[in-house]
Symmetry: C2
Subunit: 521 residues, 2 copies
């Protein structure tokens, strides 16, 4: 199985990418901000209230019934969302139903996949699912990397997913939106119910642009379900299920900051760098992810803010109890949240009007009239690899396996300063290399790499280099750091990659920035 | 000046309506729910963040500068909104600027106009404005009725306005959205600032679909302006003005229920009817307008609810201190508010999460996947005239002058029961007639007319007729009420109408339900 290698072309950063993906024309990456879209947004069909129940009750008896009423058929695009994370019980049920109905060659368009979706491999094998566009994490990534998926995978950032839907690059036939709480009309939110997830922003594009929209919940409330994060006016059918998610796998009861001394060191160095260079200033803004190191950076920020009397205007979430603590302590005026990771985040979003839910539209869509990403002073992100040109990889490991999604990572690169705190090596494999296996972000967008053995600043950021002078921080050339890693680890084995392209990596503007190859045996 | 009478056709309720309006094809009304739209929603151009300031600051120095940057030109459609009601200082400035720039033949597309816009008559006279699509209240209505406007006016309901924009029936070139509060990126709300108006829902369609969007405020705050009732991601330019509205004319400090014994009687009879027929039941929902009689109905409802222990699930606003009182007393679970009329409404919307801001999209758009209107158990509305077929008029007076807009009136007709409490005559002119001057709502949508001399139930509502039996309520045939009015007032003079069509009345689906004629001298 698997697609033959497509005709390849070299894009603006010298990566060979397919001209066609799954039979559709693709545009090679042309440089940051260089591709200018023409044309018009995707225009959904005009509907009439006369075709919907006047009492607003759009309930149908089962998910299968809803899919049938929505006209599920061969080759359609079905979208789901990752609000329930690894506790999702919905996507598997959708494709079980599709399988039972004998539908083939579906395009699965999740906002992300999780290990719980390993169950879907059988439906890729039996032809129910043709290919995935969305993250192929863990088991699905391995399956894809081994060339077993019928079509070519397409990975997009959260913002790129909104862009693709808005622009009509991906036309969704049926969106199935799982919600913690909904009413019969389809108004829905992630704030209440056993499967509360915080917010439903990843499904926003789908609700606006999909031809048919199904809302599924295990907590149906009387109209009105308030607030309506998903608006029932976009919804065709609603369905009440026994259970849509496993609560303890949706939001964790406790978030924990790393206790690893190595990671804490990286976090402290990152915070020190921000302080020394004036990034940490009154009214600043920041975003740090949900990983252990990122969480720790936030805590170091908090301590410095307390010490110096500095306040942040806003923090972008992923929210968790630490960020909520900063909001409640008054260190941060607003949390602009895209994803809620724990129960404290959920509580805060529910009760505190300054804990604001956002969406990939507001925060990340590159084909809008601006977005929030560029307004953030500093983001702290992870990567699997970074190279001496500051290009970075978040989707493949150095062995070539596709094991992660892009998430909001590419979108965050547009913030004023991007910092990657990374260990110099992992499992004796250097993290700083000559060339990353997969380019997810071009080097010009990445400003600082913080390692335990020194901080490398992108030469383009002469302002930061200047500000760091005399700070006592261990500023080093990225080539030195690469050399040091090599000296310690030795030259790692090259991944055994074949020619066949198993997935394409899209940039935030819909162009193809890189291709992922099949991993050989 | 004025348009020659267009070729007319008879629509489904026998009204003669133009086939073309301002040179564009129009569809005659085909009956409620009979016109099925085909085609696709209006698709705005795809934009790129690379064309907007990366720091999110979209401020320009003046309104004129913003209009120039937005490319204002001959024949364009410029929209404004009535959130500032009769305290609006923005629309006049927009057309002053257009006049100074020498632009001609603009289509003004307000969500409503007020007497404060009388100033714009000079720009209709000098050719800056070609015609108005929106309500032509007071002085503008008189001007239009006298045949002095260059083009033909088009009146739409609030929902019809959303529908027209969504469907591409009206393509807005430049939307100018006045906001009580905004940030430089264009996020805006009506909750804060001297010109706070409550909400900005009437501008939602414009923000989503207009080619260029300008947000103007006199209260610019640091990003993020929260909550973002208008999303900055839809906005091209922001501008800070000295003053956008006159506070005391935007929201009143005090709302007062009518003290007129006649109106109080109508209100009490209406509430008694709702009680007797079981419309007032636990979990019911209602909407009553901002007029004195409607307010009084709400108060009678409240008293009955206290007496019987009934609670309402939701009330649709226009909100005011009386409705807020019901919410805070626990008589109502939610206010779903479309327009805030006083300071108490404003405070409640700002502070109470159960006081929810809605929009013409959620509440009224007929070309969506359902809307809220049909879910409301009972609405209490006004009218200038109603006829023996229960057709009702809200835009013209019996002398033929176009003096009011439709507002949400047509949209509300979709609720489960529509009640019009009306005096039998006003200024010795009968309100119940053989045929209304202008049909805004077809008789099949109007269920009950309550007058001081009896209550007429639409024969189609045999269920209500049955329920009212034995209630002691003065149920009467509508013909009897007409006869009684005639007997008291005598036959009123016919309005002196000429053939020339000066405005068209659209139904909620974009079809033409009636035409308004020039008033002769």
């Amino acid at each position: 199985m698997g697609q033959p290698a497509d005709h390849l072309v070299e894009n603006a950063i010298g990566r060979e990418v397919p001209e066609q993906i799954n039979g559709e024309q693709a545009i090679p990456f042309q440089g940051v901000g260089q591709y200018k879209p023409s044309g018009y947004k995707h225009a959904p069909r005009i509907r009439s209230c006369s075709d919907y129940p006047s009492n607003g009750d759009k309930r149908v008896a089962s998910l299968k019934e809803a899919l049938k009423k929505a006209g599920i058929g061969e080759g359609m695009t079905i979208s789901t969302h990752h609000h329930f994370r690894n506790g999702d019980l919905l996507a598997n049920q959708v494709f079980e139903a599709a399988h039972e109905l004998g539908i083939k060659n579906l395009r699965w368009f999740p906002s992300a996949s999780f290990p719980c979706h390993e169950h879907l491999i059988r439906y890729m094998e039996d032809g129910t699912i043709h290919h995935i566009e969305g993250s192929m994490n863990g088991p699905l990534g391995k399956f894809t990397s081994e060339g077993k998926m019928k079509g070519t995978g397409v990975l997009r950032s959260h913002g790129g997913r909104y862009q693709a839907v808005q622009d009509g690059e991906v036309k969704i036939d049926i969106a199935v939106i799982g919600a913690g709480c909904a009413d019969a009309f389809g108004n829905a939110n992630g704030l209440y119910g056993d499967s509360a997830s915080g917010l439903l922003g990843f499904a926003l594009a789908d609700s606006e642009y999909a031809d048919q929209v199904i809302v599924a919940t295990d907590h149906m409330v009387d109209f009105p379900c308030v607030p309506w994060q998903i608006q029932g006016n976009h919804v065709d059918f609603t369905v009440e299920l026994e259970q849509v998610g496993i609560p303890e796998k949706i939001v964790s009861g406790t978030t924990r900051i790393t206790k690893s001394p190595d990671r804490l060191l990286l976090a402290e160095m990152t915070a020190n760098f921000c302080e020394a260079t004036g990034i940490l200033h009154d009214g600043f803004s920041f975003q740090s992810g949900a990983g252990g190191t990122s969480l720790a950076v936030g805590e170091f920020f908090a301590q410095k803010m307390r010490d110096t009397g500095i306040k942040a205007r806003f923090a972008r979430g992923g929210s968790n109890k630490y960020l909520v603590g900063m909001l409640e302590e008054g260190l941060v005026d607003y949390i602009l949240d895209g994803q809620t990771f724990d129960l404290e985040g959920l509580r805060s979003m529910r009760d505190n009007p300054n804990h604001v839910w956002t969406s990939p539209f507001t925060s990340y869509n590159y084909h809008g009239k601006g977005n929030f990403a560029g307004m953030v002073d500093v983001v702290v992100l992870g990567a699997t690899e970074v190279d001496v040109h500051f290009n970075a990889n978040v989707v493949t490991h150095s062995d070539g396996y596709l094991l992660h999604g892009i998430g909001g990572w590419q979108n965050c690169l547009f913030s004023k300063t991007v910092i990657l705190p990374l260990p110099l090596f992992r499992d004796r494999i250097p993290v700083i290399t000559d060339q990353v296996t997969t380019v997810c972000g071009p080097g010009e967008m990445i400003d600082v790499v913080v390692t335990e053995r020194g901080i490398a600043i992108n030469p383009q950021r002469s302002d930061l280099i200047e500000k760091a002078k005399g700070s006592g921080l261990p500023i080093r050339d990225i080539h030195e750091l690469r050399d040091e890693a090599l000296k310690i680890c030795g030259k790692p084995a090259k991944p055994r990659l074949e020619d066949q392209v198993i997935a394409a990596i899209k940039w935030v503007d819909g162009t193809v920035i890189d291709a992922v190859r099949k991993v050989g045996k």
